[in-house]
């Protein structure tokens, strides 16, 4: 698998406090990578670091194979766009003037597709309105437009839907999915809105206390979060043969506990178990989503 971003044992220390503590992650090319973590987990520090705003205390990172200490990193960064925290825009300029500035910095020969870019992010009718009079949502859109100006292959968005209205959230989501599918742009998105992230991410990285505690693809997560019936029985020896005989997909959690993934009625399940001399003690439905997966993951770690 090709990775557009890899980090190895990345560490950032501010005096005695570790913002990143040996963070190792892999962002596959073409993915929408959701970066999930509590406040202060190290998401923004990580983003600042890969954007070249801060230097690692230890460890390394590579963008498209270029290590952060190599001169090649400057070339690799040209393939990147980012919106870090608040959108970086000149407040005394209009949206079009901001894009022109970005085009100059990128060395683009003409301002040809500025209109199309503004249209893409829904800012085509802002005219001479200065950015200082924009709403937060409009600034976010402009920030994304600036990130898109260099035709990047990899875009980093830090809380992109912050301050957006519901309509805006849907539009930004659709835009990200569209750019990912049509232009094969890789996204790394940090967000607290897990429900929103789960609608677009194809890969997840869970950050806690400056480390990646789990990297998982959306498909794997879906498997891990599958709806299932959790059964508790009295007998440990005959449970597996009984479930095998019923031809159901299951996973033994403990000797007396199992998760049943197949569609099966409770009446039939109870019959299968009682036919094998097993008493069904307790039954419950488990419907885990990204949020509960995240809480379980971090909660479990906290309790460890």
């Amino acid at each position: 698998m090709d990775y557009c971003l890899t980090t190895s044992n990345l560490t950032k220390r501010y005096r005695k406090c570790y913002a990143l503590n040996g963070l190792t992650m892999h962002v596959p090319c073409g993915a929408i990578y959701g970066l999930i973590g509590k406040n202060g987990a190290g998401k923004t520090t990580l983003i600042r670091m890969i954007c070249g705003l801060q230097h690692p205390t230890n460890g390394s990172y590579a963008i498209y194979g270029a290590n952060h200490t190599d001169k090649e990193i400057y070339k690799a960064r040209k393939r990147m766009g980012a919106v870090v925290e608040t959108p970086s825009v000149y407040s005394f300029m209009t949206a079009e003037e901001n894009l022109k500035q970005q085009y100059i910095l990128l060395g683009k020969p003409s301002y040809g597709n500025i209109e199309a870019l503004l249209d893409l992010v829904g800012l085509s009718n802002t005219g001479n309105k200065k950015v200082k009079n924009f709403s937060l949502g409009m600034r976010q859109r402009l920030g994304i437009a600036l990130a898109l100006a260099g035709d990047p292959d990899f875009i980093v968005l830090d809380e992109p839907v912050n301050g957006l209205d519901p309509q805006g959230i849907v539009e930004i989501r659709e835009l990200i999915i569209k750019l990912n599918k049509e232009r094969n742009i890789t996204f790394m998105i940090s967000s607290h809105i897990l429900g929103e992230l789960s609608k677009l991410a194809t890969y997840y990285g869970f950050v806690d206390r400056g480390r990646i505690i789990k990297e998982i693809s959306a498909a794997e997560l879906e498997k891990a979060c599958r709806r299932c019936l959790v059964i508790h029985v009295d007998s440990s020896e005959r449970l597996a043969p009984a479930l095998d005989s019923a031809n159901v997909e299951y996973k033994l959690i403990t000797d007396t506990e199992a998760e049943i993934y197949s569609e099966i009625t409770i009446t039939r399940l109870n019959k299968v178990l009682s036919d094998n001399g097993i008493t069904l003690v307790k039954i419950s439905e488990k419907d885990e989503d990204l949020e509960s997966y995240y809480i379980n993951l971090l909660g479990g770690k906290d309790n460890a």
Binding site: L53, H55, I73, R77, V89, L105
Partner: protein, 282 residues
């Protein structure tokens, strides 16, 4: 680097502070010329004024601090805007090196400093020379005044750049630059006063006949030769000291002052680049 410069200049052109500053420089020069014309008309016996005086006004104790203030405000504003709006992040994210960002910012402020000088000189040439006639100083002296005066302003531009790039706040940068300017002006005025103390002063006393006579005695306020040499070096080396010497229009250490100013530019820019490369940004 060229892309960064193009971006900075396109922002500067839209910056009202730049145009107001250039206008202030021209208006101040015109105002000084008008005052001289009025004075000459009011008192025909007054000593004749030459265009040279207006040239010196540009590099005087009035003109240079004014230019320094204008450079501080412009420089801190154009660099501070990148921090205030977070747009410095865009430059780094798209792969511009920190050194090129720093140097392009210095060049932008330096070009503004040169523009201020040009506006001042053009005003003198266009308005003062037709009224008061050509310069009376030698071409060499005029050239050195202009070269050293511009070099001082470049040194000041380098100082403004390092302060703005490292303090990250427009207001803090302006306050630091202006305070430094005011304090330095007073410090070097006092140094200049000490250096210019005469070796001997006249003292009145009674002679053997009881008559009041004036005798020349060594000046007690005169600094010792080593200290005087050190003071003179300070006056030659630091921009505020150079301004004091240039404003007199008398003999000064021309090429040494140029070298010192260029040395300040080089050292300040190199140090600024090194520190900025290590700086963590948000």
């Amino acid at each position: 680097m060229l892309k960064l410069l193009r971006s900075n200049f396109s922002r500067a052109i839209k910056n009202k502070t730049m145009w107001i500053s250039l206008a202030v420089q021209a208006i101040v020069m015109i105002f000084m010329i008008i005052i001289s014309v009025i004075q000459r008309k009011a008192d025909p016996n007054s000593s004749p004024v030459a265009s040279d005086e207006f040239l010196l006004v540009i590099y005087s104790l009035f003109g240079m601090p004014l230019q320094s203030i204008l450079i501080s405000v412009f420089g801190c504003q154009i660099i501070g805007a990148d921090y205030a709006n977070g747009t410095i992040r865009n430059k780094l994210i798209m792969g511009h090196s920190r050194s090129s960002i720093y140097i392009s910012n210095f060049v932008t402020v330096a070009v503004f400093a040169i523009l201020l000088n040009i506006v001042g000189l053009l005003t003198v040439c266009a308005i003062a020379m037709p009224i008061f006639g050509p310069f009376k100083y030698s071409a060499k002296l005029i050239a050195w005044i202009i070269i050293d005066g511009t070099a001082v302003m470049l040194a000041y531009a380098a100082i403004v750049t390092i302060v703005s790039m490292l303090s990250k706040s427009t207001t803090a940068s302006i306050v630091i630059c202006l305070l430094t300017l005011i304090i330095a002006t007073f410090v070097f005025l006092s140094i200049s006063f000490k250096v210019n103390q005469p070796d001997m002063i006249a003292e009145t006393s009674f002679n053997e006949l009881g008559e009041l006579v004036e005798v020349m005695v060594p000046n007690p306020d005169r600094p010792k030769p080593q200290l005087k040499a050190f003071y003179q070096f300070c006056l030659d080396f630091f921009p505020s000291g150079q301004v004091l010497q240039l404003s007199k229009g008398e003999k000064f250490h021309d090429w040494q002052m140029l070298l010192y100013s260029l040395g300040i530019v080089t050292a300040t820019t190199a140090e600024g680049c090194l520190v900025f490369r290590r700086l963590d940004l948000k």
